[in-house]
Amino acid sequence: MADLRRYFDEIELGEEYESPGRTVTEADIVMFAGLSGDYNVLHTDAEFMKQTIFGERIAHGLLCLAIQSGLFTRATAPYATLGFGGLRWKFKAPVKIGDTIRLRAKVVDKKDLDKPDRGQITLDRTILNQRDEVVQQGQTDLVVQKRP
């Protein structure tokens, strides 16, 4: 089978991607509460949330972070990723049930690592909603294999 993954050497600084959109549903939030164990009122108590500035339940910040990780794999051919190194992330605005989010990403740094078979790719990532408002933004460091 052809190896369609992109290796460290082939990924260039300045590359930009935009993902398809994805509508965040009530089911997504309920499933994520079950998976993570995060049943905080922000995400699960509709009546309590009516009295807050949000007016309704909001998606978990980490749910949207996880969704964008999936959207990234639909935005570009897969990287030969060995793992995540780290991330620096800001949650800027709430995502509500029915909002549609998409990811915009750009390669901003490439560097070698101690092990010669891999390098680190840093991406700027922005999650936008259907009104083009920035809901989350940050940088992720990916450890990517070099072409063998």
Partner: protein
């Protein structure tokens, strides 16, 4: 109103340990179904982070009155495998009052069953201040 730890009651340097949870293939499948992230065979690195947040609510102390998750600075040190059992340690690093509520920086460490650090970083939360007593 349920008991909560408000901004005024947050103690800097306080350390809390959570219960542990075994990460199973079912967690990985649910995560991949939810995110549509393509499977690599192992545990996606963001999954333990998501589960760490849930464990944080299971400590005995009243939960922080979190109004919003503001930011995250996170490092992945070690790969977790299906069948590993993780728990977390939390330490309040700093607190800074704002007009409404205040910012609390909480250092979280995910450890495996051998006590080795798997992931670590800092969460910044916006935490509510105690409601003023209603005047009669």
């Amino acid at each position: 109103m349920t008991a909560a730890t408000y901004f005024e009651d947050v103690v800097v340097d306080k350390v809390q340990l959570t219960p542990a949870i075994t990460v199973t293939a079912a967690h990985v499948e649910m995560y991949e179904g939810l995110t549509r992230e393509m499977g690599s065979g192992g545990i996606p690195d963001v999954l333990p982070l998501c589960m760490a947040i849930g464990l944080g609510w299971r400590v005995k102390a009243p939960p922080m009155a979190v109004q919003a998750f503001v930011g995250l600075d996170w490092k992945i040190m070690k790969e977790l495998r299906v069948g590993d059992t993780m728990h977390t340690r939390s330490r309040i690093v700093s607190k800074r009052p704002l007009r409404d509520g205040g910012l609390v920086v909480d250092e979280r460490t995910i450890l495996d069953q051998h006590g080795e650090v798997v992931q670590q970083g800092k969460f910044t939360f916006l935490v509510a201040k105690r409601q003023k007593e209603a005047s009669a």
